[in-house]
């Protein structure tokens, strides 16, 4: 059975975040939600997701290296590892090292349950590994190429691992060619537990009907959307279960794909994509 490998320190899994940092990420979401720019919002959500991955691996005072994580940013002419601070320039990083080396830790206010049915504002520490940046075109092929190189290296070293998950967020069409062949090479990489998984979240600056986790491309508006759909992997059972728990109508055959997503879609996308089960 595929996608059932137990995730442990001796058999970790891998997450690769591929984040569009092209100029249009400076624009707000179509509905104006999310506060500032799409880029600011996405950076916040990625930081929150990394935080949650760290917390999931925390055992009292120790972090267990269940995950290896890379964050790739692409925009303008550049495609590069996007972690900041001491981790700048690093590609795949064990989660324990990520935990110990955020670029900085901010203090933010968060509403938490007060135990009596209400909410109370509490100060929380918010580690930052990734900053919002936006400029230039959308070199998606080059970004997929870097992800492919990292995943190829990782699967060679972890033959029995839960397959790598690549979480790709973009707001526009590729400016350096058709990324489909490279994406196909990427998802052809595999461990003994299954093929690498590429999930795609497309967000938009214009208000349009969003399509989430479809199983067919019939309702997608154009060839661009259909291309992103075809690049994206079908959700294996643990991810379908995670989506269902969030009230999302995903089932067998649903692709890890969101088109015209809004701020809420981004939050859900990273949540679903980082929830493979079987942590030991």
């Amino acid at each position: 059975m595929t996608y059932s490998a137990e995730i442990s320190r001796s058999n970790p899994t891998c997450f690769v975040f591929v984040i569009d940092q092209s100029g249009s990420m400076q624009d707000p979401f179509g509905g104006g939600e999310g506060g500032g720019s799409k880029g600011d919002f996405v950076a916040d959500v990625v930081n929150r997701t990394l935080h949650d991955l760290v917390i999931r691996c925390t055992k009292t005072e120790e972090i267990r290296n269940y995950y290896h994580v890379a964050v790739i940013g692409y925009g303008g002419e550049t495609v590069q590892p996007a972690l900041l601070g001491e981790l700048a320039g690093r590609e795949l990083v064990p989660i324990a090292e990520l935990a110990d080396k955020p670029a900085r830790i901010e203090t933010r206010n968060k509403k938490v349950p007060d135990g009596a049915g209400g909410l109370v504002e509490q100060q929380v520490r918010f580690p930052v590994w990734l900053e919002s940046t936006a400029g230039g075109g959308t070199p998606m092929c080059a970004a997929m190429g870097l992800a492919q190189r990292l995943v190829e290296q990782w699967v060679a070293e972890h033959r029995n691992g839960f397959p790598p998950t690549i979480l790709h967020l973009t707001d526009g069409a590729s400016s350096d060619g058709d990324p489909t062949p490279i994406a196909q090479q990427l998802t052809a990489l595999k461990t003994n537990d299954g093929n690498a998984l590429l999930y795609t979240c497309h967000v938009s600056s214009t208000r349009g009907a969003k399509v989430e986790y479809p199983s067919a491309d019939a309702n997608l508006p154009d060839d661009f959307a259909k291309g992103l759909f075809r690049m994206s992997s079908a959700l294996p059972e643990p991810f379908v279960r995670a989506a269902s728990q969030m009230g999302i109508a995903a089932g067998e055959g649903s692709r890890g794909f969101v088109f015209n997503g809004d701020a809420a879609s981004v939050v859900q996308f990273f949540d679903i994509g980082t929830r493979p089960a079987n942590l030991r």
């Binding site: 137990e6 442990s8 001796s10 058999n11 760290v54 917390i55 999931r56 925390t58 055992k59 009292t60 005072e61 972090i63 935990a99 110990d100 830790i105 135990g115 929380v124 520490r125 580690p127 942590l279 030991r280």
Partner: protein, 246 residues
Amino acid sequence: MWQVHHYLTHKQGIAVRECEDALASSERSGACAVADGATEAFGARWWARLLVRGWVLRPQVEQAAFLELVTELARRAQRRWAARPLPWYAEEKRQQGSHAAFVGVRFERIDGNWRWRAIALGDSCLFHLRGTGLLLATPLSEPAQFGYRPQLVPTRPEALARCGEYIVESAGSAEAGDRLLLLSDAAACWFLQARADHDAAADQFLDLLQLGCGAGLDDLIGTQRQSGRMRNDDVAAMLLSFGPQP
């Protein structure tokens, strides 16, 4: 009069010191307990051990008294954890508190008969066995009931205040030759399924436990895990056997 045998092993692939199941018994108070610290919780191993050790010294089997005892133990845990500075991730985890499944049984001789009372919260289970029959399984009695996120014994006061409705109390009488078995979740689920399948491994497990044969239990559990019949998880087991009247 009565004898207790116990067995504790860690899940495959982790160190012995990382085992988050715990067990304890007290001859003086006539009590046995098993707890299973939640894998994702802060200080789960320590909380599970504190729970069983604290409970067998003061084996409270009624909800209100049980919660009072647990509140006291939870305060002790919070004080210990708050005593030193922690990195940001450990501090956040500490604030979420710890959780453990718990089952404890207290027994006494009344008018020549053995009476037992038990209290449980979560998916660690008690089984009352007579001969080859299973008289009672509590708080869960079907393999299908395992696997969901059960309500556990928490350390956070606000969570403790909400867990009363999930506490399960039970009681019974034991005859000479009866046995009470306490198991943490993976073994409890497996035991129920093995019995339902008329798999001889369930009786072998009891025999090995009663003989105190740790190596035999290691082999049996290894085989069951490898075949996929038992989930790879820590195992805590206690078998309490009642003998004839002296």
